[in-house]
Symmetry: C3
Subunit: 206 residues, 3 copies
Amino acid sequence: MSLLYWLNVLGLAVFAISGALMAARLKMDPFGVIVLAALTSIGGGTIRDIILDVPQVFWIEEVSYLNTIIIAALVTMVFVNYIRKIPEKLMLVADAAGLALFSVLGAQKALLYGAPGSIAVVMGVITGVAGGMMRDVVCRQVPMILRKDIYATASIVSCITYTGLLMLGVSDKTSSLVGIGVGFVLRLAAIQWHLQLPAYQIGKRS
Amino acid sequence: MSLLYWLNVLGLAVFAISGALMAARLKMDPFGVIVLAALTSIGGGTIRDIILDVPQVFWIEEVSYLNTIIIAALVTMVFVNYIRKIPEKLMLVADAAGLALFSVLGAQKALLYGAPGSIAVVMGVITGVAGGMMRDVVCRQVPMILRKDIYATASIVSCITYTGLLMLGVSDKTSSLVGIGVGFVLRLAAIQWHLQLPAYQIGKRS
Amino acid sequence: MSLLYWLNVLGLAVFAISGALMAARLKMDPFGVIVLAALTSIGGGTIRDIILDVPQVFWIEEVSYLNTIIIAALVTMVFVNYIRKIPEKLMLVADAAGLALFSVLGAQKALLYGAPGSIAVVMGVITGVAGGMMRDVVCRQVPMILRKDIYATASIVSCITYTGLLMLGVSDKTSSLVGIGVGFVLRLAAIQWHLQLPAYQIGKRS
């Protein structure tokens, strides 16, 4: 199996973990946990594939992806059974990994289907943020994108880094790993030190 | 008209009733009621048809489906006008019927388009739960899937029963009626006696 | 460029402004503002194009649409920087313009792809309300459709006016401008004078 396959598996697994941990906090039952893990994992890529109008969405084309999600959700459930408190930071880190991975994988698939660079960046952001956004909306949590720490920014930086390196002639493999790394580290730093871009300063200059 | 047609009409009608009753509680105006009823009714099947990439989504292919929704919403509005209090249990029962019907109908359509059994189960769950989930999110209610009573489980049981019976050589008609019946009865029992699967027991063994 | 192009640009710009103003109230950072503006702007039309199964969704076919959204979001950010308080009424007016424009543009595109009149009205309503609905759900605001003032009604009136005039033989240009005007004025009047249709009167006659 290719690097692309394993990056997809990794992205699905970490998003499934973030969904299952959220479900744990809300005390959902096992099938509810699996449904929420799947929604988080396949949500973004499904919207990407539908907009790109690919012949088959990725989890129909490659059935092992669904197994990945179920295994990740089950392992998370067993793990959670042995701890006292849901580790919120683990959920944020899993979400950050999924965000960076799927942003780059989304941009990559868009380019593969002939989209220009600007569209690839938009498709990457959709792929990276939509699954987590649906998880948060269904679970009635504050969506990550509304929190003050860098989030949409990390996704956009990942996509632009990846697309930019490709255009500079860097290999797809190197570009994708650097793109993923940059977005992931940026988001981790934001989680750790509450990095923020300056927000709207209403009335600042009035 | 075939059994399939009438099962679809029934599913659309009961989901439309559940949406219209929710709208009644929120005192929406008549056109808002119809829009919410339609969102609940066609939401799940539309996502299914888009992912399966069928030539036309079901409510464009068969225009009488939209009439079903409008009639069900209007009848609900008239009915509500004559009662003192919105019957919450009626909303739950209508939602349960839609959940069981659309879970099986979703799995069936996926199989018709050549999906393997595992994908059919996933498509069934999406078809069964998505419309109600959108209704609850837009109306700012706790999504059914987050409540403690069996919900996602009933959908999955319906889909697996239907797909399993088919694989054992049972006719499509019998398999679908049994699949729908099992899921509906399970969900009704959950509503009546607050049946729950064991949830995450955090710290249970620590 | 055609009238159709400019009406689309206008609809995207006003919805982007409504999204950016909402983001300003929630103190999102610049990239969050752009993502929310884009979600609001392209949300409805993307769902329309996916359901109609057009060869390419509108913002991939015409890349200048994305530039429109980014410029509108940036201008809004600069503007907001110079004022003391986010003008809520401006947000409502921008949303009203987007609602009327995209309702008619959605119905028009459905007719162009061969849909009958009733389907065109449904597609128009989806195009008009979905983007704003996603904006409100992600931002955890009360969706416009749940507020008491005429909202879904304005969209439906726009779509029916446009489709009806076309069927009476009126030119597409006149029909669309009248359809947009009627819906926009109706919604503005509802904002100004809190016009409401009679809602469910529970127990009124009991």
